[in-house]
């Protein structure tokens, strides 16, 4: 293996294995090598520090989220008891305030759950192995089916989805967040559709989740993957701003990536690139076909 100093020599003197130089030049190169070594050590130290800080932050956010659950359970639980047993004893304003408490606590509950999911990503051990996309999407589809049907959203999933190299939990988090978003950010003037398809690309599989929803302005493409970044108010579209950051982090943990293509008022397509399991030389693709019973 080449050391960093060897690499520097090769860069500085590409045509010779060792330079024939004057004494002065040798001293300069030696100094340069020393500086490179020093910077490399410094960089490694900083990387280790950053990794440690990231772990500490993840542990902190997990701990805070976890501890927030107990008081939230009390707020939600007792507000629900008030609502179910004592609603009649309140006037209209009192009932409105109580509904506000219930709505806010439901939102906080989602926030905590999403924060926990995000922080768990950095701490949980993952088992990357051949995982059936079809199984994972089947479970997500079944969970989402009633909600989607209620909102009039048609979801179609390609047949013969391949196996990918992934951790099942991470894979599930990626696609449940993408499908959930696709269902949420729909347009009111057209029947909402969500289509999951895939293509093979060398050793990779590219899975597309495409919707005909409200779309995303291209200037926000980077921002949407950051934690807590939202483009809409809570009253307009409910959400926590964590979902897509989970998608990106999970995809990257699997050695993959996620990309977005979108046009305002037309729709959005998210592309998730993952490693294909098994025989990667086999090239194929599949058109979308109805998979979820929308009745």
């Amino acid at each position: 293996m080449q050391s960093s100093s060897d690499r520097w020599h090769a860069t500085l003197f590409p045509s010779e294995s060792r330079p024939v130089v004057s004494q002065g030049h040798v001293i300069q190169v030696t100094e340069l090598e020393a500086k490179v070594e020093e910077r490399t050590t410094e960089l490694a130290h900083r990387t280790a520090q950053l990794e440690q800080r990231t772990h500490q932050l993840e542990a902190f956010s997990y701990s805070v989220s976890h501890d927030l659950r107990a008081p939230l359970r009390a707020i939600t639980g007792f507000a629900e008891i008030l609502s179910s047993r004592y609603r009649g004893a309140l006037d209209e304003k009192g009932r409105h305030f109580l509904d506000n408490i219930l709505e806010a606590s439901e939102h906080m509950s989602r926030l905590i759950e999403d924060m926990l999911s995000y922080s768990r990503l950095g701490r949980a051990a993952i088992a990357v192995k051949a995982t059936s996309l079809e199984d994972v999407l089947d479970v997500i589809g079944r969970n989402l089916q009633a909600h989607a049907a209620q909102l009039g959203v048609t979801i179609t999933v390609a047949k013969d989805l391949p196996e990918v190299l992934a951790d099942r939990t991470l894979l599930s988090q990626i696609f449940s967040n993408l499908l959930d978003n696709a269902v949420t950010y729909r347009r009111s003037d057209v029947p909402a559709t969500v289509e999951v398809s895939w293509i093979a690309d060398g050793d990779d599989v590219v899975i597309r989740v495409a919707d005909n929803g409200i779309g995303i302005d291209a200037k926000h493409f980077d921002r949407i993957f950051e934690v807590f970044q939202r483009l809409h108010g809570q009253d307009e579209y409910a959400g926590t701003g964590i979902g897509l950051s989970v998608v990106r982090k999970a995809a990257e943990m699997l050695g993959g990536s996620v990309a977005v293509y979108s046009a305002l008022g037309v729709g959005t397509t998210f592309e998730v690139r993952l490693k294909r399991a098994g025989d990667a030389s086999e090239v194929g693709c599949s058109a979308a076909a109805p998979a979820f019973d929308e009745r």
Binding site: H66, R69, L72, R73, T76, G77, E80, S84, S109, A125
Partner: protein
């Protein structure tokens, strides 16, 4: 198999509001179970071993079921599990962990320490009602209790 008498449940929980919610849910479901509350892990161990204020078994009978929180100060739920699952007189009492945590580590350790079931505390009161109903249906009705 429903017991011919009211079932005794030991609720091990140090959070007063969680205790209130759980007791209210049991009351709402009206199964007539007798709930004993242990305020933390140490009190649960004292109750189960019949020591100190819990020496009178008429007043503090061994429970048919233990509902156990995990995160408690000093003596936590895992300590309680370790303490009772190695003792002949106590090890067969079914223990249902009732925790806020979904963490893999907490689940694994609980089962390793002999928990018989692991449930995540719901956030909503409706969720609590459902959990309480299912606990009663399964552990105190359908499940055949161990010989004591």
């Amino acid at each position: 198999m429903r017991l011919s008498r009211a079932a005794h449940i030991l609720l091990v929980e140090d959070n007063r509001m969680d205790v209130e919610l759980t007791l209210d849910a049991f009351e709402e479901e009206q199964h007539g179970n007798k709930i004993h509350v242990a305020d933390g892990g140490q009190e649960a161990i004292d109750y189960l071993f019949g020591t100190g204020p819990f020496a009178d078994r008429e007043l503090h009978p061994l429970p048919d079921l233990i509902l156990l929180d995990l995160k408690m100060p000093v003596v936590d739920g895992q300590d309680v599990l370790r303490a009772i699952k190695n003792v002949d007189q106590l090890k067969r009492i079914p223990v249902v962990v009732l925790s806020s945590s979904k963490e893999e580590g907490d689940r694994a350790l609980s089962y390793d320490n002999g928990a018989n079931s692991y449930l995540v505390k719901p956030v909503s009161f409706d969720g609590f009602l459902r959990v309480v109903r299912l606990i009663d249906d399964y552990w105190l009705t359908l499940n055949v209790p161990p010989p004591m």
